[in-house]
Symmetry: none
Subunit: 187 residues, 4 copies
DNA sequence: CATGAATGAGGATTCATTCAT
DNA sequence: GATGAATGAATCCTCATTCAT
């Protein structure tokens, strides 16, 4: 219940450590990392992990949501400095690049798209919203097709990121996204 | 060791039943179906399953490889009745439609792309080869970009199919593939 | 599912061993004996225990039900060789004596009376039925009050047996039951 | 160490609140209520609970002992206003009625009779003493059998109260106690 | 070859108790 | 004296795999 009063200093520190350790584990692609290991890596006992996150699943949700939150701040900034279509293009590439960092978003996206839970529903809505906004701006500027839903693009990107595996993946993914973006543009 | 002599009739029957049951389970999206359940659904005992497939993983490999084999027969036929770009387009849609059948190829593709194993390496090569051939034909006819590798397109398709979850997924995926194909064509 | 075909010899042996070990543990009063220990004492692995009893609770039910079954065979025999009131008296004493053996029925009765579950409901009905029959026979012979329900007497006996603890308990319990029986008789 | 100096006002208040919360939990039949919950219900933190009661068991002992103390005040008063046998009868019924309140004495009695600990030994002695006194008075007035020990009667009552579960339990218990009392009287 | 009973490592979660703030 | 965060031992159950029948 982190709502009532601010956490004690040490508690906050532990919570951060746990999130960091969990992020490292889950975003590294080890989708079924052991909670015990995460706790150990965070330097706390298992009980402490469970005090902060009621459930293994709750911990995963916390990690992935945070990741999504940070990502969804980008579009607003991009739109201020670029044309809508370039903003869209950049955001798509941002997703790819982000996914490239230690499987980064890759696993997260897949889990988020695949798992039912209020938290993930929110995350999906958030990301689809970010993409929808970019698409809408591009469409009203006459630069981008106007018949694509945010969720559709999210599914495409999510999928492409989800399969990240090989070493040259990042370049490959950028190429795919380029092609996709070409198909999206009005010429 | 299924290499030495041809299987006895009942043994062959059991093997087929096991593959069918496993296909149903794994392609239905239940990526961690229990081997025991698969055996039961095939109407045989667990020991029999292990006589035919040394390992859970081996069973999965068998299922997915078979699926890929069947799929990779398509391009040759398509090229005989259509222009290269249409053949490519059809093959892409075929993958999507196939993936739509009870999560069909979706899970398979993801597993194949993601997991290291000689068998899957072969499957990847096979599919990438099929796509490469279609791309090459299209390119030499001047209809399709010539800077795309088969593996890259495989990754794109695999990704797009991977996240199949929602009900309207199939339409969504076809739309994405359309856009992608547009980006692929020379106009 | 012990209903389909008769168990293989070794399986039956293991099942017996498990029941025996569980009986020893639970009827000895260790109401929360560890399943691992029971398995070890039975000389089988934990998985074997769970093959035979789907759940800790299922094991307890099996043990206690068996105990009750055996006990409820007594009334019929007693009624053939004695007057109804003597049969009742003997059955009550039998319960006490049975409870005295390593906490025997004591814990079982309490668990059965206290826990909700189809199996225990049946056990309760069975025991109450046995007592009701004895009471009815005694009443129609004019030897015993006719306003006592079988379940009421079951509750009394169950309770008295449940508290068995001290060394001299058996004699004490027999005295209590004697007094109770005196109050039950018509004089 | 609550022996040294009188507790500070707030400390005493906390102690009372804890006892009340624990009484509510334990006497309500929730024999394995969590200490944390009890603390919360008492409106204090877990650390405070442990300052007042060294151990979970110590808390239980405190609750049950207090309950017994209060109950054992009754006999003296009853003997002043009634004949010895009626006093005994009333005390027995008092126990039953007390047990009927939210499983009240039922669980307490069973715990007290069943668990070894100096505190409970004292409680047992106290209750047995109360019953012994009533029996003795009745016996010397020639109204009640003189061969029954206080502890025996305690066991009987404890048992009868122990299995309180059903809704109609109180009436049932009163009937049983009636019968028992009949067996106790000299006619 | 088939059967299905046995194995046992593995892992999430709970909760009484301690101790830093 | 009070708080509540941290501890960590304890325990039930699952399921891939082995092997006696």
């Amino acid at each position: 219940m982190p709502s009532s009063r601010p956490l004690r200093a040490d508690a906050r520190r532990n919570r951060e450590a746990l999130l960091a350790a969990a992020r490292q584990a889950f975003l590294a692609g080890d989708a079924d990392a052991h909670v015990e290991d995460i706790a150990r890596n965070a330097g706390v006992a298992i009980g402490t992990l469970y005090r902060h996150f009621e459930t293994r699943e709750a911990l995963i949700e916390a990690v992935y949501s945070k990741e999504v939150d940070e990502l969804c701040d980008a579009p607003a900034a991009l739109l201020e400095t670029r044309s809508p279509d370039e903003a869209l293009r950049h955001f798509l590439m941002l997703l790819v690049d982000h996914a490239a960092v230690g499987k980064g978003m890759a696993v997260a996206l897949q889990h988020i798209m695949t798992t039912n839970s209020p938290v993930f529903g929110e995350a999906r809505t958030q990301m689809a919203g970010a993409l929808a906004r970019l698409l809408a701006e591009g469409a009203s500027a006459g630069l981008v097709r106007d018949d694509i839903a945010g969720t559709t693009l999210l599914h495409a990107l999510g999928g492409i990121c989800a399969l990240q595996v090989t070493d040259g993946w990042q370049d490959e993914a950028r190429q795919i996204v380029s092609i996709l973006f070409d198909g999206l543009r009005i010429r």
